[in-house]
Symmetry: C2
Subunit: 516 residues, 2 copies
């Protein structure tokens, strides 16, 4: 990642500078082969001049002409679009004729060029990453509309909408009109629904009004009249959901509990503590770095900022503690339960009891549980328990599914994706993942979570069997050691993982998982 | 107390021994004056012989004859009964003629004699102080039936029913038949209702069945058929309440919340933690001595084991934490709130967060709040807020009321009463009371508590004005220093007591309260 990005920056500086100064390009990639022969410098320069006519020098975009910013688009995304224009899947007469005229190697060179430029105009001010939701647009962008099955834009497009990797384009710097046009295109099936068909699904779940609000937000336009507050619960759920085959917009585990309205957080000392907890919950690695080992946020496993049923919602957890836990062999308070999250899921160390981080998180959970009955396990608490799969979970089937549906976000090596220092997609294994003591390491927990919630925004589109398979696959990789490690992997397995629901201490591909 | 009790034991040994051996009495009290001339030894011995005919040697009682144990009866109680027999207020033909025949000095000497004997037959096994309520009788004895306005017998008669002081007689060692007969006598007004008229009120609140159960319990009779469990909630509330003038049997603050059935505590690790918390709550000084400075139990301020509305019930408190507290200037968790109780109300030191004492208490509170809505202040939470009194609270009126209604239990010097090491009635001021930092030290809190709950079993029989007056009187006495003491009493008052609702730092009877 780092090497690639440095490389891109290097290209960007040299080409960008030469375009602006008019000097000749010194292009690093050699031109080889027939259809795969990359264009020469002058050829590329000519093509770029054509692009620039509408998209501006350096691909900054031209709002008046409806031409979007191209600078910083990921290679894969850029090529997919050019191809889609060329074959008419993405309907745009001008771009169709432009794209048709570009040979494959030229498309690749253009993709490389634009990918190497700055994603966001340095003069542009980022939209505030406003988790408090000062407007519906901001809320949709950074919190989503989960009751209607809409993840936050930033959950895939990254903080500030700066894009993630080669496939997920930036939103920042696009004009509101362009964003509206694209979302409407997806609704009208005038452009391909993109990886996993996700944007087609999401666009259909958005209300017309919400589209304009979120477009204004990313366009850096000041809040519109009527868009100065976090959405009420009614507004969050009021989206025009269009059911797509197999995609259930919201959890089918209906819950008896309605989370409090974000607007109800009071502007007082208590409310400030709630918001503090909320920020720690959303940006855990940033907000509580002293207790975090792997860059995972609470909200990575507890979707919709801890609100979502079947995703271990905070209101479900808060109301069932103190509870006896086999894992600790004693009754634990809610604060002690959170300590466990830090120790295992965050691969960090538990904040001491009474630490402001714990109090803020407990207060946030308490606020969210407002009105929920103490001591009653509500529907939607924890992750769903799937019945035993028909076939024993399979590594091979899991791997195939992973490559098809998970790599886009979590990466080929399960390493996740960052945007700057912020985790956009958490690592599923490896050094930066949760450790062998985490609940998500249990195959049944993971299968339940995956079934209900994965791929993000497309929960309940996998079969139970697929969820078990891919959970097994995920668990069949190395990750940070169990902090309860006792003398040997074998002994540690015996003490803490003596179950076919954990791969810890078993041998996969000739290597024992959890071996020191 | 200690001196008096040693004195009594000394008399008991000498007289008891001489009666048994038939040797002459060496009686310490000189016979002086006419009507007040105490009987001589032989005279007393003759009278005792008469008593013994029915009540047995050493006043052990004779169940077959229906004659109760007299040994260990408090002087005041004993005299009151003799007087009541004599004047016919307590209806009993035999005892009337007996009592009529005894001159005042003889009655006094008999009272002294019986008070000096062992309360309980040393061979007798105490009824188990069974807070878990293995039977309805046990529950009534040690937990009461608060929903019907019935305090536990042991709340006045002491642990094991051994009696308290000179006015509250033992129940242990009485035959079940005798206990039943007395409770029915009170119902039928065949005997005086006793101090504050309390026993008349209480007897009327008891079901016939409960009378037989509790009588069996104190009689040491094995559990009766149908009486092998803690009462269900329905049974607790199903008492035959007879409203007496001015006495409201249960809190008139109706609550929307029903506490869980004691029977629902599961027999598992969680349930054991709940019971552990319950025991600490009931017997705090015994169960958590390391954190307790003054011998006060949680249940001293939180009646009905923390269940009672308007008595700071646990279910009410549990559901409104974490909360911002002015007292600490920050959001506190429930565990931190309990720490405050130990520091101030228990005049001890706060158990560290995570301490088993805190976890057990939190678990008990959580269990009790089962089904209560998180974050909603339920009716009956805390103590009632009384409106400002018509007249400014008065020390003099408070003192007069205190002497009339409070001394019986809390003692003339507010020192409370113990039975062995167990607090029966907590101290209201002095070295063994809550300290100047406790919530009960605030006159408004105390007034609300007193109004709703005092005298015990006779809540809501005082006027608001009386509650304010006696609360002021209570607060106008010295007690342990505020642990937040800062340099001087004046400064400490300024920081923590700058309110006319605390007498801290003010001068009463020429002495500044809270002065070092």
């Amino acid at each position: 990642m780092r090497v690639l990005s440095l490389h891109r920056e290097g290209i960007a500086r040299s080409i960008g500078a030469s375009l602006l100064s008019g000097a000749m390009l010194l292009f690093a990639m050699p031109a080889v082969g027939a259809d795969s022969v990359r264009p020469g410098e002058s050829e590329l320069k000519a093509a770029l001049a054509t692009c620039s006519a509408c998209h501006g020098e350096s691909g900054a975009g031209n709002e008046a002409m409806g031409a979007p910013r191209l600078a910083g688009l990921g290679r894969v995304y850029f090529l997919e679009q050019l191809n889609a224009f060329a074959n008419g899947d993405r309907k745009n007469a001008t771009m169709q004729s432009m794209a048709e005229g570009l040979a494959k190697p030229m498309r690749a060179s253009l993709a490389d060029f634009y990918a190497s430029l700055e994603t966001v105009d340095p003069k542009r001010q980022d939209p505030v990453d406003d988790a408090a939701g000062s407007s519906r647009g901001a809320w949709l962008a950074v919190r989503g509309n989960w009751p209607a099955g809409v993840p936050a834009c930033s959950e895939c497009h990254g903080p500030g909408g700066r894009g993630v990797g080669a496939e997920i384009p930036p939103l920042a710097g696009l004009s509101p009109a362009y964003i509206v046009e694209q979302l409407e295109s997806w609704q009208q099936r005038d452009r391909p629904a993109g990886p996993l068909g996700l944007m087609g699904v999401i666009a259909n779940r958005l209300l017309k009004e919400d589209i304009s609000f979120v477009a204004a937000y990313y366009g850096g336009v000041a809040s519109r009249e009527g868009d100065t507050k976090a959405p009420s619960n009614a507004e969050r759920q009021d989206a025009g959901v269009v059911s797509l085959a197999g995609a259930s917009p919201s959890s089918s585990n209906s819950t008896t509990f309605e989370v409090p309205d974000e607007r109800s957080i009071p502007n007082d000392d208590f409310g400030r503590e709630v918001r503090r907890g909320e920020q720690i919950f959303l940006h855990t690695a940033d907000a509580a770095p002293q207790y975090v080992g792997s860059p995972i946020n609470c909200a990575s496993c507890h979707l919709d900022s801890g609100r979502r049923a079947d995703s271990a919602p905070l209101w479900g957890a808060y109301t069932v503690y103190p509870a006896y836990r086999k894992k600790t062999g004693q009754v634990n308070t809610f604060a002690e339960r959170i300590q466990g999250c830090f120790q295992f899921s965050e691969n960090g160390r538990p904040p001491p009891l009474g630490d402001p981080v714990l109090t803020a998180l407990e207060t946030y959970a308490y606020w969210m549980a407002k009105g929920a009955p103490v001591g009653i396990r509500l529907p939607g608490t924890g992750y769903p328990k799937l019945v035993e799969p028909q076939l024993p979970p399979s590594y091979q089937r899991g791997q195939a599914l992973f490559e098809q549906k998970c790599v886009l976000c979590h990466g080929r090596d399960g390493q996740g994706q960052m945007s700057g220092n912020a985790t956009v997609f958490p690592a599923l294994w490896g050094d930066r993942s949760f450790n062998w003591g985490a609940g998500m390491e249990q195959i049944d927990n993971a299968a339940g979570f995956i079934k209900a919630n994965m791929p993000l925004g497309l929960g309940r589109t996998l079969s139970d069997q697929e969820a078990w398979d891919v959970a097994l696959f995920m668990d069949s990789h190395e990750r940070p050691q169990d902090p309860r490690f006792d003398q040997s992997t074998a002994r540690t397995r015996e003490e803490f993982h003596q179950t076919r629901l954990s791969m810890y201490g078993t041998t996969v591909d000739g290597r024992m998982l959890g071996a020191r």
